[in-house]
């Protein structure tokens, strides 16, 4: 039931090519942005996804560039070449498509007299007719049509519309625009941290290493849940901890929180880990979000929910020192 016919639809052709060129352009641009993020602006990627994803973004960028190039070449060759593509809208394009049993779309045909019918077909046509024909599964006749019909590509191609729709390309420009604006270029602010920390949320400790004169290195997960387990609390209680993080003030000028963001995959799943720092005196001028290193005694105190929470008790405000931000501000 192969059924070759020629289309002529000039407006469709124009919108088809504009659409295809835009698709190639936008995919190429997105691929380029993904590659350039990896090559030149890793710090932008760092704020969006964890390092393990960086090469995946690069690979997807390369793949997009590659497929855009392939498509550009194939589109170039399909122009003016008959039968190059099964639904290229070239004028007088011979394009073979098959009709399923449910297909009943109507073509206004100008039948050329020389058309071939299958062996069981004994119909003769010698007229110009707009007809609704249905090809059954056993139908294998071939028509040579020369028809001029206004069907949109979306009806008999593989189910998608090629109508030029500028709106969707505008949406796709967003990541490209962000790249040129150099965004995101900084980590979460302390306001976002404060919003995500409940008033007495102390259960997560951002401690990375504990120095008890004998330098005890501990895994992050142990510390994260230390407050919840009696044996762990006993292990840490009273030891000196050194902690690096971002300073987040509270409404008391001698109490602050130190926050580290823990990113599992991307910025959307980042959660703030924090520990409360208590100083015997006011901290002085430390801006919110400043990276600091704090050295103090680890204690576990009950909060108003009757749960233990880790606290770092300082000897003086000099135990809190401003430092340069970590190369990767996010904990894995």
């Amino acid at each position: 039931m192969g059924h070759a016919h020629s289309h002529e639809h000039p407006e469709d052709a124009q919108s088809y090519y504009v659409d295809q060129l835009c698709t190639i352009g936008i995919c190429g641009a997105l691929g380029g942005v993904a590659v350039m993020m990896w090559v030149k602006r890793q710090e932008m990627l760092q704020h969006a996804v964890i390092p393990a994803f960086h090469w995946m973004v690069l690979t997807s960028g390369i793949a997009l560039l590659l497929f855009s190039a392939i498509r550009a070449v194939s589109l170039w060759f399909s122009v003016g070449t008959p039968a190059a593509h099964r639904h290229g809208p070239d004028t007088a394009l011979d394009h073979a498509h098959e009709h399923g049993p449910g297909c009943d779309h109507s073509h206004a045909h100008d039948h050329a007299p020389a058309h071939e019918h299958g062996p069981n077909c004994d119909r003769t046509h010698d007229h110009d007719h707009p007809h609704d024909h249905v090809h059954g599964p056993d139908c294998n006749h071939t028509h040579e049509h020369d028809h001029d019909h206004p069907h949109g590509h979306g009806e008999d191609d593989h189910g998608h519309s090629h109508a030029w729709n500028p709106l969707r390309y505008t949406v796709l420009l967003l990541p490209i625009a962000l790249y040129f604006l150099n965004l995101p270029n900084s980590g979460f602010g302390s306001e976002h941290a404060l919003r995500n920390l409940s008033k007495d949320d102390l259960q997560n400790s951002g401690l990375e290493k504990v120095d008890d004169r004998g330098r005890v290195e501990l895994g992050f997960r142990d510390l994260e849940r230390a407050a919840y387990q009696e044996s762990q609390r006993q292990l840490y209680e009273g030891k000196t901890g050194v902690l690096r993080g971002q300073f987040v003030p509270t409404n008391k000028d001698n109490v602050c929180r130190l926050v580290r963001w823990k990113m599992t995959c991307c910025a959307a799943d980042a959660i703030p880990l924090n520990v409360r720092i208590i100083s015997p005196e006011s901290y002085g001028a430390i801006p919110a979000g400043q990276w600091v290193e704090v050295e103090g005694q680890i204690q576990f105190r009950k909060n108003d929910r009757d749960e233990y929470a880790p606290v770092l008790q300082l000897k003086s405000r000099n135990d809190i020192r401003k430092i340069e931000p970590e190369t990767n501000p996010y904990l894995p």
Partner: protein
């Protein structure tokens, strides 16, 4: 990250002139407002970029697989592999994530091509819903996130009755499977009543009239004499088309998710749902819809709600990969709104019932399991 990356946002430039407390808390209203808006916009962009660049590689991969699937895999082969019994086909669909692991963003692109190849709609839906949960990567990440949680104690040293890694993985997989199969059956029933009207308009136009008879499906639509480079050209066209089509909706969904993430905090949810299992489950389901997390990452977020009941965490982990803003926007490219709402209703109701059942079972039998595990 720049050394001054954050500081200027919080008034650091004036820090030398004013005492600390004044710098932080007595900024002029205008200045304070500007800082908040600027900071919110930056956080918004960061979350949006996070969701977008995390999903990008998977969508590209999905689109390329979709291109090859469309161009090189014969429809008859796929139809041969699907069991004739529709229930078995749905069950098979739900387990397809084991050999073909894919996250929820990529799976949608592939599923759309499978549909066009004549795979029954219900089977596709069960693969789409369960695939992002029942796969090895997600099992591992869930296991790692919850390992050791069973020994969590409260301040008086009592076990808090949490689930550990193995229990969470089992409960999540089972939940994902049951809900996906249940929804597959609902979709099958709907499809028998309404046919291909349940699909998005341009997809429905290209679908076989009936999926009951595999012989009656659309056949391959390509001249067999295409050369290899021409076929690769076709793969590129399909891949780029699918990529653009789905990415538009990914971006729109990511924008909504970033906004939701900015306005709602985890702790609001944890605070409200402390002692109400049903409320906790519903709130965590709402949070899953708002946050649009990837199924590989959501276990770590769920684990951060340490004190929350395991049943609410399971509700979050089962619903999240099946339904969120981003997915809803992407579903619009595949399904008719009628089917989307059938799927949403079916998934939400089943996840809630499953989580409530789990809650009662775990509250009754869980403590024994927990103590047994903690004693080890």
């Amino acid at each position: 990250m720049r050394a001054d990356g954050i500081a200027p946002l919080f008034g650091a430039r004036g820090a030398g002139k004013l005492p600390a407390a004044e710098t932080r808390f007595r900024a002029t209203p205008d200045h304070g407002q500007r800082i908040t808006v600027e900071n919110n916009v930056r956080t918004f962009i960061q979350i949006f970029a996070g969701i977008f660049y995390e999903a990008l590689p998977f969508i590209v991969l999905g689109a390329i697989i979709a291109g090859f699937l469309e161009e090189f895999v014969p429809q008859r082969l796929i139809l041969k592999l699907i069991p004739r019994n529709r229930f078995l086909a749905i069950v098979l669909g739900a387990l397809l994530g084991l050999p073909f692991p894919m996250c929820e963003c990529g799976i949608l692109v592939i599923m759309r091509r499978l549909l066009r190849k004549g795979v029954p709609l219900s089977c596709c839906v069960s693969y789409m819903l369960a695939g992002p949960i029942i796969n090895v990567v997600v099992m591992l990440s869930t296991y790692v996130a919850f390992t050791g949680m069973e020994s969590t104690t409260d301040s008086s040293g009592r076990l808090t009755n949490q689930m550990g890694g193995v229990a969470m993985v089992t409960a999540r997989m089972l939940g994902g499977f049951l809900v996906a199969v249940g929804t597959g059956l609902v979709v099958e029933w709907q499809h028998r009543r309404h046919g291909n009207k349940l699909l998005a308009a341009d997809l429905a136009a290209d679908m076989p009239a009936s999926q009951e008879d595999p012989d009656a499906t659309v056949l391959e639509k390509r001249p067999s004499q295409l050369t290899f480079p021409q076929r690769i050209g076709n793969v590129a066209e399909i891949a780029l088309h699918d990529f653009v089509d789905i990415t538009v909706f990914l971006i729109l969904g990511a924008l909504i998710a970033a906004f939701a993430r900015l306005t709602i905090s985890h702790n609001d949810v944890e605070e409200i749902s402390r002692n109400q299992p049903a409320v906790a489950i519903l709130l965590m389901m709402g949070l899953a819809i708002l946050l649009c997390l990837c199924s590989e990452a959501d276990a770590f977020v769920a684990a951060s709600f340490i004190a929350l009941r395991p049943s609410a965490k399971i509700a979050f982990l089962v619903l999240g990969p099946m339904l969120d803003f981003k997915l809803y926007m992407m579903y619009l490219r595949v399904f008719h709104p009628r089917l989307i709402w059938s799927i949403i209703l079916s998934v939400v109701v089943q996840v809630f019932i499953y989580s409530m059942l789990l809650h009662f079972l775990w509250e009754t039998y869980g403590p024994r399991l927990s103590s047994a595990l903690a004693d080890r």
